[in-house]
Symmetry: C2
Subunit: 385 residues, 2 copies
């Protein structure tokens, strides 16, 4: 286990009726920027409920709406401008990972003199941020309790993750009921996203039993509850378990001390940056291809553990067992959860960008479980094609 | 999963050489009360190292030494007096759970007008506390990242747990090397203590897969690494895994949303209050007796899960499997870890206090997995006798 500092100060209000905790925001000032996406929160009543609580608490609400599924730097810049012009005291995101990620960089940009894209390229430039709050409506990215945000500049085909301790939310409201209306496609993609976070942390050479055995517990939670949420969208317990497992997948509990760097995410970010696909679907497609590519005598023991402890498989031949674990993951993603099984199925019909994408992703995978060369990544893209 | 607020703001510095983080204390004032136990930190050099860092940071250090294994209210009162007389700004505990628990109530007592025992009887009376810091030297209680403290008044045979959000440490330093010198007896008792915390959280009727599957991971971590630490006291990875698992056992990760109340701890607190035994040994002795007492058709499914997922057992007869899981726990505690197997073996040679102890413990077990009557508890004490 390597040295680490564990620090997740976000206060989580989890469960039914927790929206009333929005009244706590009045302790942080009087002007709040409300950030949301395409307007589904207006249809389901969450917007009205939140506005009433905020106004009853004496807060003045400004709005930034229309945050994209892969949030764009242009939208961030709009939010920063509102914050600076209006003297905003805090940012409140209501939505999924994209809305919250956008809000985080808006909050940091409000305290930064230059262009917010600088903060996406280099999180260490974030030296302060407005307090960040959120109401989560999609279980997937874990951004509700982590320091990270992913922002795209589609004009440059660039999508980068950034992070700063100043961008950790102060308080997040997690009500599983808000995810009842999430579509089958997004429920499946969200489950794949949180499973990917857990696996990125899990596959490491560190002797970190504590983190790894807990990660196995998270994966089992997602594998059990993902299909229930697909079949019964309003099953509270299934939605609650997915929501809380998704938060723990990336808040440090199963990563700190164990996982030095990720590598499937950098590969997927290139897919999204070039083709604007759904992040969780990209991860689901790439992960088994990545596993098959890196399976060797050194990594074999981890794959055997994965097959046994996550999928409950057994057998005497370690390689057969490792492959069976990977096959179980494929079957789960592409049959049980109904995720498209390859890149062509999500609309990527040519391979002409693979070399340039691989070159960029290669930088991001440095220091990971098995560091990947540009050629490795091209092979993985082709295997997933 | 029931509603909960998850909030563990403690910053953890985990690993080798993290003691240098003590210099962060200067941000909290100039006068620190250093609290420690019997003086082992003077023998192993930790006292000198800490003093140098504190003094280099410009802090003035006052001292409260001699904190007992089951910390006494008299010692808390001494600490409170120093804080009030000297205008202490913060409290730094260096030691195990007892030393840290004592420091927490000292820190709260310093901001309270009445007698500190009031705060032990009723944590809601804590309305403020000095900032609390600690350097952990024993993996067991998890107090380094929780709001709880247990204090005894031996003159009244009373030992009570108290808790307040104000008593959560601001920062804790966890260096597994500091636990290399922990004796076999205390290593075993500490492992039993953290396993008990995990099991108190785990055995619940809530549909909380996320918390339960992670708890299984923690138990497997302890079961794997406890015996390694006994056999190789200076095995860094084993000590690190025990240390971090012990922290997670009670910081809310596997308890919040899942475990409404505990019941083995209240029973053990009476043993310690009347006989001053080692807490972890008392828990190890009582837990299997409690399990056998509450195993019935309603609780059977949880015990089957415990046998399968924690101990890797299998079988067609659920009751046989449940008993095999409990037997595996007994074998682990009393053979593998060498913990005394019954109350007589820890010096409790008469049963005359069982009725009065059971009456008090009964209050504490309200709302737990299986609420226990006074008679139930007497039976459990007798079974463990």
């Amino acid at each position: 286990m390597y040295n680490f500092t564990f620090n997740i100060p976000t206060k989580i209000h989890f469960g039914k009726d927790t929206i009333s905790s929005l009244s706590e925001l009045k302790a942080y000032g009087s002007k709040v920027l409300l950030v949301y996406g395409g307007g589904s929160i207006k249809k389901n009543g969450l917007y009205d409920t939140a506005m009433k609580i905020l106004k009853d608490a004496g807060l003045t609400v400004f709005e930034l709406s229309g945050v994209e599924p892969n949030p764009k730097i242009e939208t961030v810049r709009k939010g920063v401008e509102i914050c600076k012009n209006e003297g905003i005291d805090m940012v409140l995101a209501i939505g999924g990972g994209s809305t919250i990620d956008c809000s985080k960089v808006v909050a940091a940009g409000a305290k930064y003199d230059g262009d917010a894209w600088d903060l996406v390229l280099d999180g260490s430039k974030v030296k302060a941020a407005l307090p960040i709050f959120d109401v989560l409506t999609l279980s997937a990215t874990g951004t509700e309790m982590d320091p990270f945000a992913v922002i795209s500049d589609m004009s440059k085909n660039e999508k980068w993750g950034t992070g700063s301790p100043y961008m950790v939310p102060t308080m997040s409201i997690l009500n599983p009921e808000y995810t009842f209306s999430v579509s089958k496609k997004q429920t499946a993609a969200g489950t794949a996203d949180m499973m990917s976070h857990t696996m990125e942390n899990y596959f490491s050479m560190e002797n970190a039993d504590c983190q790894k055995f807990m990660a196995e517990g998270l994966l089992r939670t997602m594998i059990k509850n993902g299909p229930v949420a697909l079949a019964q969208p309003d099953n509270y317990e299934a939605r609650a378990n997915l929501m809380w497992a998704g938060t723990h997948a990336i808040n440090g509990v199963v990563g700190d001390g164990c996982s030095p760097a990720w590598c499937v995410h950098p590969m997927e970010h290139e897919l999204s940056a070039f083709y604007d696909i759904t992040h969780g679907e990209g991860l689901a497609i790439l992960t088994p291809a990545w596993m098959e590519h890196i399976l060797n005598d050194d990594t074999l023991p981890m794959f055997v553990e994965f097959a046994k402890n996550v999928w409950g498989l057994s057998g005497d031949d370690d390689y057969a067992l490792a492959h069976a674990g990977i096959d179980a993951l494929k079957k789960f993603f592409f049959e049980t959860m109904g995720i498209p099984a390859n890149l062509r199925a999500v609309g990527i019909t040519d391979d002409r960008n693979f070399e340039v994408m691989a070159k960029k992703a290669c930088e991001g995978s440095k220091g990971s479980f098995v560091p990947l060369s540009k050629d490795d990544i091209v092979e993985i893209y082709r295997a997933a094609f």
